[in-house]
Subunit: 442 residues, 2 copies
């Protein structure tokens, strides 16, 4: 039987101004983790969360740049562990923002502009708002909620893996499933659940020759030039249609099954969605299915740049003595890191079963709040903490996004739509209800 | 009959400490033209030169960042126009200098370390020292000397071409030949005269695709990546043996004649000289002749770098939206700029006749001072002012270097050997004597 949610939903609507105000306060704290001078603001943001959680009756522990909390301790209820982060990317008006990045600005269409609105303060506050709306509606909270809110996600989540592993059998010990709200809808109209991520293997190719940089006039034509060879190496990695040219790499990729192939046609995604995101029509494939498969289930190789060579505007006639080319391969099942060699940095791909009760509950909650069955999506990018949680807890991990694809996370004019925020809060609460009673599948 | 030079030479030896002191004063002025804050020092350096020249009895005119002067106005004598520059490259101990760059430091082997010592304050002061030694020796100065000393050479000599062209029929009107001391010996043991320079055509290749930078996880595999195509373009320009792959370019190059081919064997240059300069043995050719031809008479293509892509240390997973590859082609006879297309910046090659009386006189002076016949060299690099003087005055231009190949011009620990300085002063004076009486050939 579907959970009774009307009272909760109504309360969320009633409290919407209050919830937006809460987000406004959070956005106003410039918790930029990559900027050492802003590190105190990251701490302040953690304190803000801790205070709000404590006021809501949660048991809170503040660790250096991580806030963990528990709401509810009922042995008869399931326990859901949720993750989000309260630090943000850098932002400044000089980058081209149309509004003050650390001032939540709501336009007539309900777009709430502000750094962190969608990545990831809005979703984090969503959990707090869900607790509050339950309380004010007098609706019993359906699960025990464990929270892990991080303040260093945009700075590589240094130390977080160790922290999660250490708490897996302590603070997080009774988690039955994990839910992460830190990604985005595939488009703008339809919510999705995300059950897979590509991994990332990052490589450097270093080529050196002469003992120091040389003048191209004096030595050009007589000395071997590292840039010449580096260009040759980098050009050999991938063709102009995006096909990786590394022999044997394609054989590592899990074959496409008919079942999987059938999934792509139904996804709410159009080539126009892609063109809008790209800001151009320079796509590799002309059709949706091939594009989605290229993004989700096939590897890609990007050449990111060259270190050690001339990278400024203008003309400089130096032969660099040592150059380092950078490229990365987005990896997919079944590409094991040790097979994808010469590794410098390695994030593994992740795919969960979307048939797990954690997912089916979320799908029902989504249909309840948004009135449509969610797409089951994967992401082209990686969210390393996903895999950490899965491995540390041994539990199913769900990615349940709040924001949409146009939110411009990491870009200027980042925003979260009011509708996504408010309905998203409903969704988070609804998810907890459904997940509390969904029949347990593996 | 050979000029009577013994008295002059003896006087140079007698005055050597005084001349080194003059260089010490010049090196102490950090006349770094590329640094706007040091521009007053460039002016101060010009004033220093003007004062010294005035004290020597020269007629001096100070223009913004150019000092021109005339010494002697005897219609019966030839008039030689000399060029040098009194600005220097930036330098700081933090770059790795073993000594204070703006403090002339003489070691036990007579190496005089200091920014500008060899490029180009030593050679510039050489002319002043030659005047002074003539005066003190009571030897009549053999020519009228016109001087053009520039303070902006290391900043692109902005405006200098216009200045030279404007003065060509005025202050420089009676010049019979030009002599420039702003390059280096091929090796360390044997002086040379330089009669040719390669030109330089600098190119940019801009490739753009998406409207903004993209996340490689989200869009890798679905969007055309400009870096992929740029690597392909840059890799196609030159092979790993330095052979330019641009169709038709080789056909522009003047064919090698048997006469020219015979010139290279006698040049005092060894592969070890090259290996020492490179700081490695990564040469393209194993033998001297091919190496010299590759440096002097064949074009070369160098890839200098990429603008717009990731160039810092570390790992960044961005797909750049627009990238600009930079490469240059060192040009040789008969490659006309308009034939070497898509030009951004263009410096032409230069070759003079080493049989001109300006050269034969310098050769005799060199043999007189150094006891060996000088090599006749060309340079792989370009000194654009050479061509400007040749074209503006219509006269033969000689490059008569003072410093040696190990002087590290533009590098840290720049130096000029005392011997090169002192004997070089002798050479400059001797050159003036020989050039005053050398039979005029075309």
């Amino acid at each position: 039987m579907a959970p009774q949610l009307d009272g909760y939903f109504k309360q969320v609507d009633t409290l919407s101004d209050h919830f937006i105000e809460r987000l406004r306060k959070a956005v106003a704290i410039p918790s930029i983790s990559a900027d050492e001078e802003r590190r105190p603001d990251v701490v302040r943001m953690g304190q803000f969360l801790a205070d709000e959680l404590t006021a809501l009756g949660a048991e809170v522990q503040q660790r250096p740049l991580v806030v963990i909390a528990r709401y509810g301790n009922d042995k008869k209820k399931r326990t859901i562990l949720v993750y989000g982060h309260y630090d943000v990317q850098p932002a400044g008006k000089e980058d081209g923002w149309a509004t003050e990045p650390f001032e939540l600005t709501v336009d007539s269409k309900g777009r709430m502009y502000g750094r962190g609105s969608t990545d990831d303060k809005g979703p984090v506050l969503g959990w707090l708002n869900a607790i509050e709306a339950h309380q004010k509606a007098g609706v019993e909270f359906p699960v025990n909620l464990l929270m892990c809110f991080e303040g260093m996600e945009e700075y590589g989540s240094e130390g977080l893996d160790d922290f999660i592993n250490a708490e897996a059998k302590k603070f997080f010990a009774d988690a039955d499933a994990v839910c992460i709200s830190d990604n985005y809808w595939l488009g703008t109209e339809k919510p999705c659940l995300t059950y897979g991520l590509r991994g990332c293997s990052y490589y450097s190719v270093e080529i050196s020759g002469p003992g120091q940089d040389l003048h191209s006039g004096v030595f050009g034509g007589t000395a071997q030039e590292p840039m010449t060879d580096l260009m040759r190496v980098l050009a050999s990695l991938v063709d102009t249609h995006g096909n990786i040219q590394i022999p044997g790499l394609a054989e590592l990729v899990a074959p496409l099954t008919d079942d999987e192939k059938a999934l792509y046609g139904d996804i709410a995604f159009t080539m126009d969605n892609l063109y809008e995101s790209l800001g151009s029509t320079t796509s590799i494939y002309p059709d949706k299915e091939k594009t989605l498969m290229a993004r989700w289930r096939y590897p890609s190789l990007s050449v990111h740049g060259v270190e050690g060579a001339f990278s400024q505007p203008g003309a400089k006639t130096v032969i660099p003595a040592k150059v380092i080319g950078k490229f990365s391969i987005r990896t997919v099942p079944n590409m094991e890191p040790e097979d994808v060699d010469k590794l410098v940095y390695n994030g593994k791909w992740w795919v969960a079963s979307p048939k797990h009760w954690n997912f089916t509950a979320a799908a029902k909650a989504t249909e309840r709040v948004w009135g449509v069955k969610p797409d089951l999506t994967r992401e082209g990018g990686s969210i390393p903490v996903t895999l950490t949680f899965e491995q540390a807890t041994g539990k199913n991990v769900l990615l349940l996004p709040m924001g949409s694809s146009t939110d411009a996370a990491h870009s200027i004019n980042e925003k979260l739509d009011k509708k996504n925020y408010i309905e998203g809060i409903k969704l988070l609460g609804a998810y907890l209800h459904y997940v509390a009673e969904e029949p347990m599948t593996s």
